[in-house]
Each structure stands twice: as C-alpha cells, then as structure tokens.
C-alpha cells in the first residue's frame, strides 16, 4: 500500500547536520580560523566583499568558512546579511587621486609623475607550483624603502589637460541606488557602473574578453590601474563637516579607448572605468572594458549587436546571486507542472495515434 512521502522537516535537519560535519572535515586537522582566512586568502575575501557589496573583511572571511570555500555561496551570505543592516547615510565620494597606492601601473606611458609601482602582483611570477609552500613555517621578507612623497595624479588628467580625452564633467547628482530601487531600463552610466562593480567576476571577464575578440571592440589601453587604501569620509550634520570614518582598499582601472571625432568635434580618446572593493584587478579591468562597450549609444557608435553592448542583457544577467538562485531552483520539486505536461503529451500522442490508425484504415 502506498504511503505519501512525509518528513521533509526531518530530512532538512539531518542534511544541515551532515553539512556542518562535512564543513569541519577531518577533526584531526586543526580548524581554520577567521583571521587565517582574512590574512592568507585575502583575494577570496576581496572578491566576496566586492560582489557581496559589503566592505568587512572579517565577515567575508566568516562567510568563506561557512560556505566551505564556495565563493558565490559566501557572497550570498554577505548579501543576505547586508539587507538587514540599517542605513545611516551616504559617505562623500572617495578621492582615488589621494589613494596611498600599493600598486600603480600605466600601460600607456613608460614613466609618469608618481612612478610605476608594481606592488604585490602575480604578473611576472612563473606559474610553477612552489612546493616550498607545502612545508610550513615560511616567513618571507620583502625589501622595503621609504615611500616617495608627493602626489600620484591620474593618468587621464594628463590627457585631459591637452583635451586629448573626453571630458568627464563633475556631477553632483546623487546616483541611483540599485539596492533600494528596482533596476529599470534605460539605465544611466552611474547605475550601470553600480551593477558592474558587484557583478560576477567570471561573467564580467567573459564579456570583456568578447569585446577584445571583436564583439563590440573598443581598443582599450589600460591608462592606469591603481590599488591602495583610500579614506572614507562622511558628512555629520550635527558637526557640520566631514570626518573620516574608516579606510578601504580599492582597485581602480581607467582605460583609454579608441578615439572618435566628427566634422564638428576633433578626435578624442574615450574612457572606460572600473572600481572594485579590495584587490580585484581582473574584475576592475573587465569592468572598464564592459563599461566602455555599454557606452556606444552616448558616443554615437554603431550597435554591432555584440552582447557587451546590450545593457539589458548585461545588467539583467550579471548578478551571480540572482543567477545562481534561479538556476538552482530547478532542483526544487516541479511535480505539478511536470504532471500537467505529462497529461498533455499523453493526450497529444493518443490523438496522433488515433489519426494514424484512422488513416491506415482509410
């Protein structure tokens, strides 16, 4: 005799307990601490902060531990936590020109005021597995020198002074807030950049790469890439002036792109922009390329039908939390829909069979 399936509740509890056990793994191996993750898996922490759009290295490290290293799951935990946080206000725009740079490179000028600073990069390492790392207890020492005093101006400012690059006029309009208003088209650049900065790194990389391969090509040079700490300031109404409330690490990428001109306007380079929490170079460069591709309309370029030119396509599919949720929901039961499809297919097949028999009889 048939007994309907019951016990969803118990199954869920047991599954969660099993998950907790698996998360801990072999208990004879010492447990990973939050500070270890924060310090030694920093780039994972940075990605979780960037795509989770919450700057808190300790929480990001906790999320990575809780998610067993599944970064999208960790980003999800951070996003869900972020929803519950009250809003105290908005900071003043950060001044990336005043960044204390750990890394600052330009691909367009060999040398420039402020100098090229390679910083902690994988760029020129040989990608050979370093078996020394498998042995513990290594204490690497990097040589140090005094920081050069003085400004590190943006590369695009040099070009701007000569009128060689399009103006990026200062604009005090408060940007729209994607986390407080539904995303609606058409999306202006501020909104697009906001969506891109927390977009999935892989998706953004793939789109950026597609522009390089000819799907909406815009000939990007990395005018400048800089990584470092900037102060976050906030206006306190009671005080009547802005105070520094903290410091965050950012990666900023400005690309110098193919120029355009018309009969009335002389040729000028154009810009793409990327700004991401933490040290997230690949993401920042990708973001700049995609930003530039999405600007085809305001720059009077042709729409060649490339995916990276399609604002709706890019913005509606860039969020990995939306994407993964919807993708994985097809694991949920769909008995009811499937049942109705079953009925329909059976009915259609029955009728098709009847027609055939009839035709054969005729």
């Amino acid at each position: 005799m048939y007994v309907a399936v019951k016990g969803g509740e118990r199954a869920i509890e047991s599954a969660h307990a099993w998950l907790a056990e698996e998360r801990r793994g072999d208990t004879s191996i010492s447990e990973l601490g939050i500070p270890q993750i924060r310090e030694q898996l920093k780039l994972s922490v940075d990605r979780v902060m960037a795509e989770g759009s919450l700057y808190d290295p300790d929480l990001a490290a906790l999320a990575i531990k809780q998610s067993r290293g599944d970064l999208i799951e960790a980003i999800f935990l951070i996003r869900a936590y972020r929803t519950t946080l009250p809003r105290f206000g908005a900071s003043s725009p950060v001044d990336t020109g005043a960044m204390s740079c750990d890394r600052r490179i330009s691909a367009t000028f060999k040398d420039l005021p402020g100098g090229q600073i390679l910083g902690p990069t994988f760029d020129y390492t040989h990608r050979l597995l370093d078996f020394k790392l498998a042995a513990e207890g290594e204490l690497p020492q990097a040589p140090t020198r005094e920081a050069t005093p003085g400004n590190v101006p943006h590369v695009t400012e040099f070009l701007n002074r000569e009128g060689l690059i399009e103006e990026a006029p200062h604009d005090d309009t408060p940007p729209p807030d994607l986390t407080r208003e539904p995303l609606e088209m058409p999306a202006d650049r501020a909104l697009r950049l906001q969506a891109l900065t927390r977009a999935d790194e892989g998706f953004t990389l793939g789109l950026a790469y597609s522009t390089q391969r000819g799907y909406g090509r815009n000939h990007a040079f990395v005018g400048e890439l800089r990584i470092g700490a900037v102060a976050v300031e906030m206006d306190i109404p009671e005080l009547g002036f802005a105070i520094e409330i903290g410091e965050i690490t950012l990666t900023e990428c400005e690309t110098v792109n193919q120029f355009k001109g018309s009969k009335t306007e002389p040729p000028q380079f154009t810009r793409g922009y990327g700004l991401v929490f933490g040290q997230s170079e690949r993401k920042a460069i990708s973001m700049a390329l995609v930003d530039r591709a999405l600007r085809w309309e305001e720059l009077g370029e042709d729409n060649v039908g490339a995916p990276a030119q399609d604002t709706e396509f890019v913005l509606y599919h860039a969020d990995n939390i939306q994407a993964t949720g919807f993708l994985e929901h097809i694991k949920l039961p769909h008995y009811v829909d499937f049942q109705s499809e079953l009925e329909l297919v059976r009915k259609l097949r029955r009728e098709a069979g009847a027609t055939e028999t009839q035709e054969a009889a005729e």
Binding site: G8, T83, E328, P333, Y335, V336, Q339, L348
Partner: protein
Amino acid sequence: MTDQAYNFAYLDEQTKRMIRRAILKGLAIPGYQVPFASREMPMPYGWGTGGVQVSAAVLTPDDTLKVIDQGADDTTNAVSIRTFFERTAGVKTTTRTTDASVIQTRHRIPEEPLTDNQILVYQVPIPEPLRFLEPRESETRKMHSLEEYGLMHVKLYEDISRHGHIATSYAYPVKIEGRYVMDPSPIPKFDNPKLGDMAAIQLFGAGREQRIYALPPYTQVVSLDFEDHPFEASKADHPCGLCDATDSYLDEVIIDDTGGRMFVCSDTDYCAARQAAGFKGKDAA
C-alpha cells in the same frame, strides 16, 4: 522561538512599507506588474524570495500561516519557508487551509475555496507572460502599456496549428478585467478557473525579477483562448487513490519499477481531510 536578532518577519519596517505600497498599487491596478526594490533574502532567488517578501509585508502577529509547495505542506521548500517565519515572526502555522489567514504557495491553489478572511501569496519565477515571445523588458512593458497582445494569441495559434491544441499546460496566461495579460505563476491550468471571482486577496511576488502584482477579491480573470478552441481545465482522468476525490488535481506517483503508478491529490490537506471524513480510495491502506 522567535529570533530576536531580526525585526518581526525579518524585513525592517521601512522595507515592509515599501512592499506594502507596491502591493496596494498592484491591487489598485489588477494584473499590472509593479516594480519594487526586492531585497536579498536569506534564501536563494528563485526559491520564493518574492513570495516571502510579500508574506513578510502582510503578516501580523495574529496571523496563522500556511506554506505549500506543489500543493503539499511537507515538501522541503515549504518546510524551509514555514520554519523561516516561525523563527523570524513567531506566528502560528498550520497545514489546514481553513485555519490559515495567510497562505504562501508555489505552483498550486488549494482545492478548498478560500474566504474573504484569507490572503493567498504566490511565488513567481517569471512574472512576464510575454517574456518568451519578447526577451526585452523595455519592449514588453511598452506592449502592456499599449495593450498590444496580438503576439500572445500568435503563440496560441502556433500551438493549435502544430499540435491541434493549445500546448500550454501550466503558467497559462490570463487577462484581468479585460485589460492586463498576466502570468498566474506556474500553477497547472486546472487551477486557472479558481483565480477569477475569488473571495480572498491574491498577491504575486517575484523577487529576482523585482515585480509584485495582485488580484483584489472577486476580480474577473479570463484564460486566453479561441472561440473554437476554448480553454479547458484539465487533469489526470482518475479519482485520487487515497481519498477517492474526483475534483482535485492529482500527482502521479510511480510505485514500482514495472510501470505501476497511482494518482493522489497534490493538495495534501484536502486529501487528509477527506480521508479523515471517511472517504477511501482504491489504493488506501
């Protein structure tokens, strides 16, 4: 066992107000999709975040909540959402349709007719009925605002010309009060006739797609069709194996590996109530 770390029903009051405004607008313009700033919830998009936000916004401490998925109270996702509200809102929960004041559902409308003291909250994956005909949101919104629904019938026409029938068996599009074409969420078309003229308030929440829409009580809902190919609410042609009901939507259950199967009510509460009242199907123990 309410979790004190969170506000009543998880969302902060400001967010709930924003959602209530969207709900009121939806009720004022039946079938119109109201954009709302969907929040990230502690469950994945696509798993009922829209429904959960709508439920959170309408729940009061005195409410009794029922959550069903595929008609059943004990499917895993229904259990998970019910537990969520037990934890964050501390409201009473029930599996009995008649005892509930708010019912959150995925893919079904309960068999028991609902009353004017009840709210039915649907989880919606894709709120746009025109989406698979026209992928662009900017274009579909224009089609709705200009009432350009010819394309919807082209789809139905194509179905008939290919299959001899309208080959849409769930998420069957409906027209509301002669104006907006609406996706009723992926309920089987068997449930479509229950949408219209319902005493309860019906609210639809799509979290990922950031849309809320609504049907006030006793709204006219018409399933799209052709005069010579009228809409038909169909189901498996069997009585329920457990309670012998002939008027309920049935799940097909495979019971052995030689093709044996039986049909049982997808609405578990309806089935249990009938069995308790002494009805017995041919497969009942």
